[in-house]
Structure formats: C-alpha cells, structure tokens
C-alpha cells in the first residue's frame, strides 16, 4: 500500500481486501511503510478488515506504521486492537509457520 488511506481509496482497499479474504486467506500483513496519511474512513476500513480476519480465525499485522498514523489509531482507541510490527520482515516472522 502507498499514499493515503482516505475516502476515495478506502472503497478500493476494502473491495480488494474482501476479494483476498473471500479467497480464503487468513493471515494478512498490511505494509503501511509508504502510507503517509489516514483519516477516519481509512481507520474504519482497517477495522472492517480486522473484523473479517478475526472472524476467520486468522491474524492481521500492520507493519511500518508511521508515528502520525499510530497517533490516529491511539486516539481512535485501537492501539490494542491491532498487532503492529516495525517492519515487514519482523511482521512476517511473527505469523505462525
């Protein structure tokens, strides 16, 4: 992912993730290293994906989350709802083998 996770991009993001989850994937890594911005619509999209992953018994990890985006997640009361890893490599290592 790159750029912004906001209103216009959110719909495409949720559609894409829904297709992936409908395809049976349960372990999802979202690399947000190149995502510079997120708003409340983007947060809601992440919540939707996290709900879907949780209901399938899978695991969602967010990697490379910038400080401003971590601040938005914190104000949204979601810090403990997501597993965050500093990098994609560390995130991949924390999935069940």
């Amino acid at each position: 992912m790159s750029g912004k996770v906001e209103a216009e991009g959110t719909k495409r993001f949720v559609q894409g993730m829904t297709e992936i989850l409908d395809g049976g994937e349960r372990y999802i890594l979202l690399d947000l290293t190149d995502v510079a911005y997120i708003n409340s619509s983007g947060v809601h999209a992440l919540v939707l994906v996290a709900k879907r992953v949780a209901s399938s018994g899978g695991k969602l990890i967010l990697a490379g989350v910038s400080d401003p985006i971590q601040k938005v997640l914190k104000i949204s009361g979601l810090t403990s709802s997501f597993t965050l890893q500093p990098t994609k490599t560390e995130a991949l290592g924390s999935f069940p083998q």
């Binding site: 906001e6 209103a7 216009e8 911005y37 708003n39 409340s40 619509s41 947060v43 809601h44 919540v47 996290a50 709900k51 949780a54 209901s55 400080d67 401003p68 938005v72 104000i75 949204s76 009361g77 979601l78 709802s81």
Partner: protein
C-alpha cells in the same frame, strides 16, 4: 505575518483534496512541521467531508465557505454552511473501549478533530452552521 485564504466549496467529497492541497501550500510557506501539518490536514479533511456527505441530505449542489488564517501563533479555520443544523461539539464520542467486533462507523472523524485541535467552537448563526477550528502553533 498572517496568511489568509477564503474558499467557496461545493458539497462534493472531491473538494477535500482541494482543501488539503491549499493547507499543504500554507504549511510549506510557513514552515509548519510535518506532524502539525498532518493534524491540520486531518481536521480539514474530516470537517469538509462531513459537510459534503451530511449537511445537505436533500442532495443537489450547494456552496459553503472555508476561511483559513495562519499566523505564527495559530491556525484558525472557519467553516460556514447553510445545511442541516449540526453541532460537532455536541456529537457523541464513539465507544472507544468497544471491542473490535462491536465497532461501528460514525462519529470517529469528529472525535479525531476534537482531540487533535486546540479547540472546536460551534455557532448557529442566521441559519448557518459556523464551526471554528483552532490549533495553537507555539
């Protein structure tokens, strides 16, 4: 020095990008740090999107205004629309303790704005919603 911009916007979500681009220009001209620029962009994004999506439930094209003033001490944005009465200062805070599976959409944007700005004020004046956002910069 004070940098001031007044915009007339349509009740269209695409206007958010226009406002964010103007905020980016203001921030660049005034050496605003990136973390503050993020907050200003987020606040304007949420408030403009709110007007565009909810102020005119009857549809059709409507115009509303945004005045942005940036001084070395403070960012001030005043958003005026003649849409449905809506006081963001009284909007209920979403349940932030709710587990993920009980999370619902709605109210989060306003909550974010109230948290990241120094103040949010509301007046209903002559049939208009007048919302003033302030963020201290010093």
């Amino acid at each position: 020095m004070t940098d001031q911009t007044t915009l007339t916007l349509k009740n269209d979500i695409s206007e958010v990008e226009r406002v964010m681009s103007i905020v980016a220009g203001l921030c660049a001209r005034n050496s605003i740090p990136p973390e503050t620029e993020y907050d200003l962009n987020l606040a304007m994004d949420e408030m403009i999107a709110n007007v565009a999506k909810h102020a005119y439930p009857e549809g059709g094209e409507h115009l509303f205004t945004v005045q942005i003033t940036l001084s070395p001490e403070e960012f001030i944005a005043t958003i005026e629309d003649d849409g449905m009465e809506f006081d963001p200062t009284r909007h209920p805070t979403p349940n932030l303790d709710a587990p993920l599976e009980e999370r619902k959409q709605g109210g989060l944007g306003i909550h974010l704005v109230r948290q990241i700005m120094s103040s949010v004020n509301y007046q209903r004046l002559a049939g208009k919603n007048v919302v003033t956002l302030r963020k201290k910069l010093t």
